[in-house]
Subunit: 208 residues, 2 copies
C-alpha cells in the first residue's frame, strides 16, 4: 500500500509507524501534524531525539540512563547506600522513584532471563550486580522484577548466586522481593485466582 | 514533573508528548524504544521527518502534498479533468483515493471556514478554486467537506461564489455534494436522529 502523494510523506509515515503501538493511520496523522508546525518546532523535535541517542550515557555503577558517568542517584549523599533494588529496565527506576517510597540505590539489569527470547544470565547485568554486592557495602538486595515466569526465573537465578554472600561482619546478605498480592483499590471478586491464592498464602500480620 | 534521570531524556519525552494524542507515558515508551534501536535506525527516523519538512512541495494547482511542482494526480492523462472534488485537507485526498471510486481532480482548501477559530474565506484556498473553475474546463465541482456546521458554512459560501458560473457553451456549472445518510453496515436504530431524518428527506429512487 503506497498511495501517498509523495515519497517523502510515505517514508516519514513508514518511520513513525515503525514505533511500537503506532499504526499507519496514527502515523499519518502525526506526520501531517508535524508538517503543519513551524520549521523550528520540527527541528526541536528531531534534534531532541538525535541528541538523546548520541549523547546519552549509562551510569557505570547501576546502568540507568544518565547525563554523567555516574548517575545522580548513585552520587547522592542522602540515599541509603546499603540497599540495592534490582529492576529490569530504566522505566522501572522511574516508576519506583515516582512512588517516593524508596531511598536506596538501583541496579538495572537491562532485561530478564528469557530462554524463549534467547536471553541468558550473561546477556544482562547480573555479573556486575554480583561483583557490586561482593565488593560493596550492601546489606540488602530487593528484587523488583516482573511477576512473570521470566521474572521468577531471574529472581531465582540471582538468589542462587547471592544466597551464600555474607557481609563484612559475617551476617548474611538480606535478599527480599517486592510484595505480590491484590492491587490497592481492587475488588476481591475481580482479582485473578493465582494472585488471590498467593495473597492468602503470603498473608502478613495485621497491625494498627 | 521532571524526575527523569537525564535532561536529554526529558527533552525527548517532552517533544514526543507534544504530538496530538500522545501522553507522557506513551512518549516515554516510544523514546526508550528509539533509544534501544541502532544508530542508523534512529537517523532514518529523524531524517525522514526532517526531509519531509524541508523538501515537501504543495501542488500549485490543487495544493495537495507533492514531490513536484504539479502533483501526479493533476498531471495524469487518465483522469477526468472536468471534475474537481473540493476537500479540507491532504488526508481527505488520500481517503478518497483509497476508495478507488473517484477519477477526477482535487482541490485542497487547507482548512474550512470557522469563525470560532478565526478562519475566514480568505485564509483558505477558495479564491484559487474560483479562479481555477473560471479559467479551466471544469464541468462539475463536488463538495466533499466535513458534515459539520463549519463544513456546511464552507459548502454554502463556495456554492454562492460559484452558482452563477457558466461553462463555455453556456450550460451552468454543476455543483454537487457527497451523499449524507446512514453509513454502510450501520443499524437504523443506532443511527443518530439528524442523520436518519436527513436520509429520509433526501431518499433516492430504488433501482435494481
Amino acid at each position: 500500500m503506497n498511495n501517498y502523494p509523495s515519497i517523502l510523506l510515505s517514508d516519514a509515515v513508514d518511520q513513525v509507524a515503525s514505533l511500537p503501538g503506532i499504526g499507519r493511520k496514527t502515523a499519518l496523522r502525526l506526520v501531517l501534524h508535524l508538517l503543519r508546525q513551524p520549521n523550528k518546532d520540527v527541528e526541536a523535535f528531531t534534534g531532541a531525539i538525535t541528541r538523546l541517542k548520541q549523547e546519552v550515557k549509562y551510569c557505570r555503577v547501576c546502568h540507568t540512563i544518565s547525563d554523567q558517568e555516574v548517575c545522580p542517584i548513585c552520587q547522592s549523599h542522602s540515599r541509603d547506600k546499603h540497599t540495592v533494588c534490582v529492576v529490569e529496565n530504566v522505566q522501572d527506576v522511574m516508576s519506583i522513584e515516582n512512588t517516593g517510597q524508596y531511598n536506596g540505590l538501583y541496579h538495572v539489569l537491562g532485561g530478564i532471563i528469557s530462554p524463549m527470547d534467547g536471553v541468558g544470565p550473561s546477556d544482562i547485568e547480573i555479573d556486575s550486580l554480583i561483583k557490586r554486592v561482593e565488593s560493596g557495602d550492601i546489606h540488602e538486595v530487593i528484587l523488583a522484577l516482573p511477576t512473570t515466569m521470566e521474572g521468577d526465573t531471574t529472581n531465582f537465578y540471582i538468589y542462587r548466586r547471592l544466597q551464600n554472600t555474607t557481609l563484612h561482619d559475617t551476617t548474611p546478605l538480606k535478599i527480599s522481593q517486592i510484595a505480590r498480592g491484590v492491587a490497592i483499590g481492587n475488588e476481591i471478586e475481580y482479582t485473578d485466582e493465582i494472585t488471590l491464592g498467593r495473597s492468602i498464602v503470603n498473608r502478613i500480620e495485621f497491625k494498627l
